[in-house]
Symmetry: C2
Subunit: 115 residues, 2 copies
DNA sequence: GGGTCATACAACCTTATGGTTGTATCAATG
DNA sequence: CATTGATACAACCATAAGGTTGTATGACCC
């Protein structure tokens, strides 16, 4: 049922999923949460099955989920995976800024005191 | 000097680069900006050449840069690529919140996604 | 139940990716 | 300038990824 169990720890899958332009676009479209796979597939110059595979990749990465609605399955973007990736990038950037801080310290003060 | 030329548009490469655990780890280590490739390579259970390739992938993605220092080349994390990816994720999340807004408008009951 | 719309999945092909080893370049040093 | 240390790059191999077509399941409509 609810797919959000081990979600956030499959960082590999999240980034790999986002590494494809078609999939990123699907994530954007699926934000509306109104289209079935066929409708999504119609927008891309590839087969239905190909798009289906892309959606499957996104689903495994926890970036979208599918919900039955009549004979269709509506694809909907799941915010949790996005946040996980985002937090990771923020962490990287934070550490990097820390490094700049330290370097600036050395240049201007010539001493190594951690504030 | 400044290496940021076409930076932010290689989103595919940025995400693909970050989709590998070894490479993410290298990005973290390279934040210190003090190790050469050989030193980095020593930390991983794979050949020097393999690590070298990983660094090359990160470099092509604009996530790290190499700087000569004597006979070594020091690997240093570049913040620009990280920011680009982060901004993209933020944009996704923002749009998703917009969707929540719209859904809140339709506080009727459980089904019907069409309006 | 038969037809049809929407999705799932298997088999297959081609190219990319992650790893290996081996060889070449390049900079410091004796 | 020969040697050594550090990096670059080519050739190769195994597996994964992105695409195709074809077939099977599932849900609705008559």
């Amino acid at each position: 049922m609810v797919v959000s169990m081990e979600t956030a720890l499959d960082i590999d899958r999240v980034f790999a999923a986002l590494a494809d332009a078609t999939r990123r676009d699907i994530v954007l479209r699926a934000i509306a949460g109104e289209e079935g796979i066929a409708e999504i597939a119609n927008r891309y110059p590839m087969s239905f099955a190909a798009v289906q595979k892309h959606v499957a990749v996104l689903e495994r990465a926890g970036l979208v989920s599918k919900q039955r609605n009549g004979r269709r399955k509506v694809v909907r973007t799941d915010v949790e995976g996005l946040r996980a990736a985002q937090r990771l990038l923020e962490r990287y950037e934070h550490l990097w800024r820390g490094r700049i801080d330290r370097m600036t310290h050395l240049v201007t003060n010539s001493k190594e005191t951690d504030e």
